[in-house]
Symmetry: C2
Subunit: 295 residues, 2 copies
């Protein structure tokens, strides 16, 4: 299949300008993919992002940001999406593409379907796999998406040309666009991201609330630092994601608790053979995932 | 307190020559701290380590390695320690220091007390915090201990001069020797290392045995890679450690499961405020631990 021509946009509206929205804006500007990039956030993030050089301008409202834009990028926290979509709707141009960067897809799609009317055909859901324990516009970077997978979803009523342009945009931004069904997305990302965040938070929370919290800070090695890195992530962002993708997260929780129960029973009973079987299967899968962290 | 003079040894016997024993040998040689470093393992590891330049010689038995040594380093897996100590005992010179590198301390100390007789006064338990998901002599490096904490234990019947020499040896090898009580060591390292390994193994095992194993390989980002890195560790080594430090590990398991239950109840009930409280406490503790991985 021939790659669609890399798209260039007249004016891009970025709604929500934290790590992801800020990096989206910075990447568009660094790669010359937009005539102008305008941002809006309710707080100071858009002004901070502009001062860092990630935005050409700051809008005073969602509607002002969206007016005249031929690409609208939703990069707000998940719970803010429905209201932002409703506010954007009246101002969205007839030829504008709309995409998002949320960590969950089904709820955002439902909100967009409810809010956008006919413009829903030009909404192409997306999710760049480039999150971090860091957040906010200060953490944004024009190379954040380099080489990362960017999930894009095609729905039954998605305009094929709109899909192709968003797909091509991610490639032009340096990412690897990858099509995935929304329900599958939410199940897979519960497994590879949302549930591991819950586990890392619980590991940190148990240490923090226990008798070894201070000595753990003193004696932690690379193992604990890596295992819990994402436990430093934003409590607000992750409370929202875990609640939004609740059903898939609870599926993962059940599977994890069953596996952990097997491991603990083997430890309690001193059953080395049974313990080794669990650790061996886990270790083999992890080894197949490859090195620790892509940089 | 004045630092004791950096010790130099005539002949060092390294029993067990994997990641830690091999790195101990390599560091002694690289820093000119020993006249000769001789290794023994039941399998091929000692020969591999010699061929890599980490050892001067390979002994045919524990007794042959230990004969004439003024420093004996136990770096075998924990379950092998009692038999190796018994085998070493008859050959240990009257002036020889003895130390170990095991991840647990109380069981090794009990085995040494039972095996060593009067030489137990010259046994100074140690634990360099330099483990890795890699293992074996191929992973050994002369800079593995650079800047790492090396726990050293002083027992009621430890010869003060022996303690000082082992303490000074770790400093001479580039590590930061740190005194810690053995029971406290086992509780703290269950928290910062052993239990996080069990959690990482369970996280990998649950994914590996579930419906998303293949897609998880495809879509894993830095978060899952870091959170599960130590889940690729040796199943044999970790089965031994988890069983050896069982009581402390099960204490950590209970605290973790209680914390996880709070998180899950909040998710199930859609209680954002309760969920946020848990995530916030966890995130605050993790942030105080500092950057992800020391390199």
């Amino acid at each position: 299949m021939a790659a669609p021509r890399a798209p260039a946009f007249r004016r891009v509206a970025v709604l929500g300008v934290g790590l992801i929205g800020g990096s989206f804006a910075a990447t568009l500007r660094a790669r010359g993919l937009a005539g102008a990039v305008v941002g809006f956030t309710p707080g100071d993030d858009a002004r901070i992002a502009r001062d860092l050089g990630h935005l050409d301008g700051v809008a005073a409202s969602v509607a002002q940001a969206v007016a005249g834009a031929d690409l609208v990028v939703l990069a707000t926290p998940v719970p803010a999406m429905p209201a932002v979509l409703v506010e954007a709707r009246a101002a969205i141009a007839d030829d504008a593409l709309i995409t998002d960067c949320a960590s969950t897809k089904q709820s955002v799609i439902a909100a967009a379907r409810a809010a956008l009317g006919p413009a829903f055909a030009r909404f192409v859901p997306g999710h760049p796999i480039a999150g971090s324990e860091r957040h906010g516009p200060d953490a944004a970077r024009a190379d954040l998406f380099d080489g990362c997978v960017a999930v894009v979803c095609r729905l039954a009523d998605t305009d094929p040309a709109a899909f192709d342009r968003v797909h091509a945009l991610w490639a032009a931004m340096g990412a690897r666009p990858t099509e995935l069904d929304p329900a599958r997305h939410d199940a897979v990302f519960a497994e590879v991201s949302h549930w591991p965040h819950a586990v890392a938070f619980a590991l940190c929370g148990a240490i923090a609330g226990g008798p070894n919290a201070d000595d753990a800070l003193r004696f932690a090695g690379a193992g604990l630092r890596d295992t819990t890195r994402i436990g430093a992530s934003s409590p607000d962002l992750w409370a929202d994601i875990l609640l939004d993708n609740r059903a898939a997260v609870l599926d993962c929780a059940r599977a994890f608790q069953a596996e952990l129960a097997e491991v603990l029973t083997a430890i309690e009973q001193g059953d080395r053979a049974a313990l080794r079987v669990r650790l061996e299967a886990a270790s083999r899968w992890r080894a197949s995932l490859g090195p620790a962290r892509r940089r």
